[in-house]
Point group: C2
Chain length 160, copies 2
Amino acid sequence: MEWSEVGELPCSIARSLAVVGDRWTLLILREVFSGVTRFDAFRSRLGISRNVLADRLHRLVGEGILEMRPYQEAPRRHAYELTEAGADLYPVLLSLMAWGDRWRAGPEGPPIRLVHRCGAHVRPAPTCEECGEPLRAGEVRALAGPGLLSPRRRRAQKPS
Amino acid sequence: MEWSEVGELPCSIARSLAVVGDRWTLLILREVFSGVTRFDAFRSRLGISRNVLADRLHRLVGEGILEMRPYQEAPRRHAYELTEAGADLYPVLLSLMAWGDRWRAGPEGPPIRLVHRCGAHVRPAPTCEECGEPLRAGEVRALAGPGLLSPRRRRAQKPS
């Protein structure tokens, strides 16, 4: 299987990775969530090449994660801002941050602390909406959902 | 900046991405969380080349995410199993799945449903441990933590 086919799998993890699985993309989104919106600011903060940055921003716009808002006419310049789908990637970044805080922080502790608007320091962990317990791997079962059919079977089901 | 330097940034997201930011790595881990442990099973389920798979498994073992357990002597074969650090990546996969379920599922709905041991269908969302509300981007502030110093400053602080 080629990477370009991964987004076609009947798997929501694969479909998400087809959008954000590129190694620079989540770092670019980290900057957006920190309030960075402009090409040159991304570039100086991440130190990546113009070509790679332009390509990743273009893809994120094409995938509906970022949208471009003009802020200057001559020369024309755009700010990149999160769409609703983009803002919804926040839990992905939080979960990566939580893992890094726990397993890669070094003796001095985590580099950043998150404070919720309720005033509490937060260590994000996904919880069950029903019982409130943290979701651990051995305590969650995966069942077939309505969209599990493979693309081939789905095609075969379509009326001809 | 080269990708190889990303793990050196004083940022827990970057440090996590240095471990799992490779595009195939999280799909390999998805298989491990589904109970797959053997090289040939990874290969047939993911359809990736032997070389890429061997390289990614080797790195995951080196990073302390997977560990090898021998299950056959002649020829020698190993199963790959999650360490505690590896099991702790579950929220990363859950958050990717939740995003894909919401934004890439298609009209027929999500391919997989998760059921917590309490019996509830779960849509994983990170919540504040204190007030129980979902953590949304605009409602969480990032403050400097104890590990924010850059590696250079950290080196400069070390007694010589």
